[in-house]
């Protein structure tokens, strides 16, 4: 214990976070990969935000004239779907759903997973055992199967998808945060905070958590990407957000029924999904590389 006190006295009593190099956000332009990813995300966010202002058909409006030839045309740039609805409009309106549900679900999973991981790592002992065991149980499931039985039972809705993501992702987040906490728990700045008699909550959320942020930002981006995949898969499996509002995965599913004659109906929604996921994955990769550099 005396060694800890000596160290604490020698080093400034502040967390390393204060002397960190310029924030990740400011260094982002250094990574081309991250910028490409960010560009893709901003592209979709902009379209989704501007959707009401764009000269688009309403996403659920059926153009019966287009049914004769639903292929891309001057009137419908990306063609229409099997009901004569404008695919471009449905993609842009659908982006609003996916861009609000996916980050929200990932955020909710973090709100649950972070405190659990911090508690498991900081307190150790019984708390750790209980949290880790429960996490292991949920993580041992093949994830899609868990989603399918959950959503098939509680019904598909935006809220239920968020709940399912929280249940399945929070244990993974808890595990990562726990690992990061274990690395930091014995460092001097924690000893210093304990010596100052800071509360456990203060140490966990104000001291520990900000110092774990590098890997967590990367993980968050990856998780948003993965949640978009999940929402897409649920839609594709027929467990997506209830029709008629546009949902990318559901659009792919409906399109595949006609893929041999009208491939554009499933191709464009697939490209949209891939581009958005790619955006988050590239951003995650760029951020990871930047945070490894220091």
């Amino acid at each position: 214990m005396s060694a800890t006190i000596d160290n604490a006295a020698a080093a400034p009593l502040t967390a390393p976070v204060d002397k960190a190099p310029p924030s990740l956000l400011r260094r982002l332009p250094q990574s081309r990969v991250a910028m490409v990813g960010l560009g893709l995300i901003i592209f979709w966010v902009a379209l989704a935000t501007l959707a009401p202002l764009l000269p688009l058909d309403p996403p659920n409006k059926q153009d019966l004239m287009a049914l004769a030839d639903p292929r891309p045309s001057a009137r419908h740039w990306l063609g229409t779907d099997f009901k004569g609805r404008d695919i471009l409009s449905r993609l842009i309106w659908g982006a609003r759903t996916v861009l609000s549900v996916a980050p929200l679900a990932a955020l909710a999973a973090y709100l649950v997973g972070c405190p659990l991981g911090l508690a498991a790592g900081y307190y150790g002992g019984k708390v750790d055992t209980i949290i880790s065991r429960i996490s292991d149980i949920i993580l041992s499931f093949p994830i899609i199967i868990l989603y399918v039985i959950l959503i098939a039972n509680i019904g598909p809705s935006a809220l239920n998808i968020v709940l399912a993501v929280v249940l399945t992702a929070a244990p993974g987040i808890a595990r990562i945060v726990r690992g990061l906490t274990l690395e930091q728990r014995h460092l001097d700045y924690i000893a210093a905070a304990q010596l100052r008699r800071e509360s456990a909550l203060y140490i966990m959320f104000i001291e520990l958590l900000p110092n774990c942020r590098g890997p967590l930002i990367t993980d968050f981006c990856l998780r948003v990407g993965y949640t978009i995949i999940t929402i897409g898969i649920l839609g594709f499996l027929g467990l997506g957000l209830p029709p008629p509002d546009p949902d990318w995965g559901t659009m792919v599913k409906e399109g595949t029924a006609m893929i041999s004659v009208r491939p554009h109906m499933s191709l464009f929604p697939s490209i949209a999904i891939v581009s958005l996921i790619l955006g988050f994955n590239l951003l995650a990769d760029g951020v990871r590389e930047l945070s490894l550099r220091d």
């Binding site: 899609i144 995949i229 898969i233 996921i277 990769d285």
Partner: protein
């Protein structure tokens, strides 16, 4: 080592019980649903009430779970097979045997008659995919991680990110649009019978490709990361400086140590693959286990959902055990910790 395996094994069996309870809780949480789903949408409410009574669905969840477990282990007779109920749930194996998963209301047959042939079809699909994923991702991962930052590394890494960004249903759409619709080289569905004029092997190509693309992208990045880390170690520099040819440095010194971390990841891919096959089987109408789980969930076939999830879990948990033990064998440090 023996003690370690027993300890891990015991904790995994506990996990299996807890996880199966979770599945049971999700599917049978609302007891009135259980009776309703067993009888189907056209049954009278009075019939549903009678079944509710006979099955003891008013009992607490834990009691019902033990009862279900009793039937599964062959300690109790399956109450649904009681002829007095008049459900016509007949199983040639009898109503009390080990591994009695009950009766599938969707396929109107004992679960054991339905499940194993589909599991075999899926095992073939996942097995071929796995046999391709491992060597491919090791090769590309080592090539990329060998010289971090080289042109080859960057190309492989970017392809890896792209591959993991394309969900199975999207790559299915892309591949079908190109190879089936445009070129006409391959069949777009894989019903596993050659009646449509396509030999069975040709029906495997696209589903396997879809699985390989998605999973290999992930494993390649893992192997690459691990390889790059090892290449920065002092003993590799020593090996290079003492004049060993690059080939020998990589093959003799680096690869063996770089394989420890990806080993666990590769085995955990089996868990990923089980998830992946659900989607892939849907894309190609492949008569497998994953599609059956989806159909059962959408229909509300409780016995089949529980059986299928339990089997998928067992596979996932067994691979976890193998990966834990393998990791301990490869890396003695973990045993000391």
């Amino acid at each position: 080592m023996g003690g370690y395996i027993i300890k891990r094994g015991a904790s995994l069996i506990l996990t299996l019980f807890a996880a199966s309870f979770l599945v049971f809780a999700v599917t049978e949480f609302s007891p009135s649903n259980v009776a309703r789903k067993t009888l189907g949408p056209f049954a009278l409410q009075s019939q549903v009430d009678i079944l509710y009574e006979k099955l003891g669905l008013q009992d607490p969840l834990a009691v019902r779970y033990t009862r279900w477990l009793g039937v599964l282990l062959g300690l109790k007779a399956d109450p649904l097979q009681d002829p007095a109920l008049g459900l016509q749930f007949k199983d040639p194996r009898g109503d009390k045997y080990f591994g009695n998963f009950g009766y599938s209301t969707l396929y109107k047959a004992p679960v054991n008659d339905v499940i194993w042939s589909r599991l075999k079809a899926t095992a073939a699909l996942a097995g071929i995919a796995f046999a391709l994923i491992v060597p491919l991702s090791l090769l590309f991962g080592v090539l990329a991680g060998m010289r971090e930052g080289s042109g080859l590394d960057r190309t492989i890494s970017v392809f890896g990110i792209i591959a993991t960004s394309v969900p199975e249903f999207a790559s299915g759409v892309f591949l079908v649009a190109f190879f089936v619709v445009t070129l006409g080289w391959l069949p777009g569905t894989s019903p596993l019978d050659s009646g449509g004029g396509w030999p069975i092997w040709s029906q495997m190509i696209l589903p396997v490709t879809v699985l390989v693309l998605y999973d290999a992208g992930y494993v390649v990045r893992m192997v690459r990361g691990s390889m790059a880390e090892v290449m920065n170690k002092a003993y590799i520099r020593t090996a290079v400086l003492k004049g060993l040819p690059m080939r020998d440095v990589v093959v003799r010194h680096a690869v063996r140590n770089a394989m420890i971390a990806p080993f666990t990841v590769i085995l955990l891919q089996i868990n990923f693959l089980i998830s992946g096959v659900v989607v892939t089987e849907m894309v190609f109408a492949y008569p497998g286990f994953g599609r059956m789980i989806l159909d059962a969930s959408l229909f509300g076939d409780i016995a089949l959902i529980e059986a299928a999830t339990l089997i998928a879990l067992t596979i996932a948990i067994l691979t976890q055990l193998v990966s834990d033990v393998g990791y301990a064998v490869l890396n003695p440090q973990i045993r000391l910790a």
